[in-house]
């Protein structure tokens, strides 16, 4: 019954041209509508839907096009989005969501816009969990036992076990039942992944021959039409010229300014540099299958040998913080009592001596006639000069303590294969980006060793396994924090990685953009509130 009313109303809306329910339409908050924002992106996303995509470039687009049941506001608090309210059962095993009734899907080409209902939520969950669906999300939602449609605007999730912060997990993006061409699963071949429709503030309009993605404001957005008319994602093959493109007004925003360009933008009054902290860190990861690296003293020695502060200061203008363990600083799980190891080459040499290494005839350390020569594999596509600098500096630091490192730049796909599939490497340089659940189980649990799993180094420690499981099961936040602090201390000591730093990310944009708030991870979460003063709209 309800459904029918909404359909009628929406048809009326088209005919009469006025929004049926109050918020859909202009925001009426006194800020001007209009203008276009072109932003520079680090490449072209292969898919634009929230299920199959796994890159930051796509994530930023899906943030503009889709909504979750709940959202996360600027203060990192959970706020209603597609669900206007919710109830959790006393045993925290069932969550019932009551959906908004005024949400319309973006119209499909040549069709009427359809209303958003509980069917879409059930559909999204099922398609996400279908074995044939290509998605990195499955493991995140294995805690859900079932989902049930209560009414057109009511949906209930039953969990296998109560988990901490369950509500935050319901921020997954909902896709329409009438979207994908296959009713049961979604693959990267489905046309939907390139021409998606959502409920969000922006509608995917076209993808130009230059692979620019043009998004236009959704006139019927349930939180009120976004102020800016058009977002254009412009891919840059050469990342080095992105800041120049900004300075010559070819684009209005750069999502992540190259650290070396920061001083240049800082000195220019036309632009704003806005910091945002992503939950991420860079590291050198070791292959513990290698007999040379199996001894933790060797790995610790490498950490002592690298002057990480010097690298951070010289190459990144000091825009970041050193990291001591497996959690992102800024996350509640990070243990501030564990200090990053200091730069101490003598200590490094001493540790290597203890581990049985002695200088050979050519100065390179060796043990039982075997030289301490290691291969460091770096993906070539990420070969921005910042990466190159870090990698070569690392090689130089290790050379100073008598360790030979052979740097190998590999094509992206080949790199992934040798690291995650064949495990044919000694050291890699990479970084992890986390969401706020501070879940490191896929990185260090021994069950995650294997082809295409994240524990690429083959780290296995029963104590760590136990703590990880315990931290997942506990419902007491304080207890979980204590467990994670312990995990942090153990992994810092065991050094499966040389933990490096987390960088302060900066977005650079033209000062005509106002009220810019940036989500630390998803970036565009609040973009419907951004605006451009009428005089600057051109």
């Amino acid at each position: 019954m309800n459904k029918r009313i909404v359909v009628v109303l929406s048809i009326l809306a088209v005919v009469v041209g006025t929004p049926p329910v109050s918020p859909a339409g202009p925001k009426n908050d006194g800020r001007p509508d209009g203008g276009t924002l072109g932003y520079g992106e680090y490449g072209r996303p292969s898919t634009l839907d929230p299920i199959t995509s796994n890159e930051m470039v796509s994530l930023r687009i899906t943030e503009l096009v889709f909504n979750g049941l709940v959202g996360i506001d600027e203060k990192q608090e959970i706020v209603p989005e597609l669900a206007e309210r919710w109830e959790a059962s006393k045993d925290s095993r069932t969550y019932t969501f009551f959906l908004r009734k005024d949400v319309m899907w973006h119209p499909k080409e040549g069709e009427e816009a359809k209303p958003f209902t509980a069917d879409d939520v059930v559909f999204t969950y099922k398609i996400m969990m279908h074995p044939k669906t290509t998605t990195p999300l499955k493991v995140r939602y294995e805690f859900i036992e079932s989902v049930e449609k209560l009414s057109d605007y009511g949906v209930q999730f039953t969990l296998k076990r109560p988990i901490l912060n369950a509500l935050a997990k319901f921020s997954f993006k909902v896709i329409p039942k009438h979207g994908p061409s296959h009713p049961l699963y979604l693959t990267r071949e489905d046309p939907f992944v390139r021409q998606p429709i959502g409920t969000g503030p922006f509608v995917v309009k076209t993808i130009t021959t230059d692979r620019e993605i043009v998004l236009v404001a959704n006139e019927n957005y349930f939180k009120g039409r976004s102020h800016i008319n058009k977002f254009i994602s412009k891919p840059f093959a050469d990342q080095n010229i992105m800041t120049q493109a900004l300075m010559f007004n070819a684009i209005d925003m750069v999502v992540l300014v190259n650290p070396r360009d920061i001083p240049e933008l800082q000195g220019d009054k036309r632009f704003v540099l806005q910091p945002y902290n992503a939950l991420s860190y860079a590291f050198f990861g070791y292959n513990l299958r290698s007999p040379l690296l199996a001894d933790k003293r060797v790995r610790q020695a490498f950490t002592y040998a690298v002057n990480r502060q010097e690298v951070l200061d010289s190459f990144f203008n000091g825009q970041g913080t050193l990291v001591s363990g497996p959690f992102a600083p800024g996350s509640w799980a990070y243990n501030l009592d564990v200090r990053p190891l200091p730069f101490d080459p003598q200590k490094a040499v001493a540790l290597l001596r203890q581990a049985g290494f002695a200088p050979g005839p050519d100065g390179t350390l060796q043990k039982d006639g075997k030289k301490l020569t290691l291969s460091l594999k770096v993906p070539i596509e990420k070969e921005s000069e910042a990466v190159k600098r870090v990698v070569l500096a690392f090689q130089n630091y290790l050379k100073n303590i008598g360790v030979a490192v052979k740097v190998e730049f590999k094509e992206w796909q080949a790199w992934k294969e040798s690291v995650f599939q064949e495990h044919d490497f000694d050291i890699i340089f990479a970084s992890w980006v986390f969401d706020d659940s501070a879940d490191i189980s896929s990185l260090f649990h021994s069950a995650e060793i294997g082809a295409w799993k994240n524990n690429f180094g083959g780290y296995s420690n029963p104590e760590v396994d136990g703590l990880i499981v315990e931290s997942k099961l506990t419902l007491d936040h304080e207890k979980r924090r204590t467990i994670n602090r312990k995990l942090h201390a153990i992994l810092a000591e065991e050094a499966p990685y040389t933990f490096l730093w987390t960088l302060t990310n900066y977005s650079g944009y033209h000062k005509k953009l106002r009220r810019v708030a940036i989500h630390p991870y998803k970036f565009f979460s609040f973009a419907d509130e951004w605006f451009i003063p009428a005089a600057d709209q051109k």
Binding site: D313, K388, L392, F409
Partner: protein, 297 residues
Amino acid sequence: MTRYSQIAGEGRDASDLPVWRSADTLDLAYVGYGLLIVALVLVSYVLGVFNWLPHDPEQIRFDLLNAPPGSAGHLLGTDFLGRDILSRLIVAIQAYFLPGLVAIVISLVVGTTLGALAGYRGGGVEVLVTYFNNLVDSFPRLVLILLVIAAFKADIYYIMIIVGVTGVPVVASLVTGKIAFLRQKHFIEAAHVLGLPSHVIVLKHILWHHCAPLLVIRATIGMGEAILIETSLSYLGFGVQEPMPSWGNMVQAGANYFFQGKFWPSTAPALAILLTILGFHLLGDGLNSILEDRGGK
């Protein structure tokens, strides 16, 4: 008359003047400049081999990133890791010298053999060689190199082997053409009549006396090509890999800082490439006019 002098004198010029006297001043200037570059390359190679350098080319200086020319004893400044640019320019010759020679030797040896076979034997052999040449020529060189890199690894020797192989058709057709031209002069027939064995005719009378200048010219141009190919590959990130310097990867790394007003890390190697390749080509060009044209005079 000329015909007989060709047979009797075997390549000696009709006039008794030394080669350089009868040559054009401009050609001599070309050759002179080219030889200067060759000498510089050789000297740099020797300096690199014995490590007689102003600074350690791999010494990273965190306090001297992209320092301008002249600072702290760095004549050409430092690069993005504070390494001395001049030393790296000199050492970079190592990246080209032997691999470049490998490429040249491959293309000359294989190319001359095929060319001589095709030209001397003719018939079926010539058809086969022509097919081979067309086959090699029909692959874009850069694509072939990228394929090899993908299949094996980004190693300069692999790259130079491909450069050598793809250089074969040019040499082969040059030699074939030259032999076809020489055949008209009948001295090959005369040699046959005198009872000389085929290998002597081919090696001594055809290749040594008549094709040597041609091959020298190809070799000089080949060296220039080797450098240019490496530079293009470095721009794609597949050339000589850091920390080993090459002019190509120096330009590529330095270009990142060009817009920040730090032009020297990329300009110095770019100029080195320009002047060197110009040198090799002018040398080839000059030698061509001096040695080849003289035969026709």
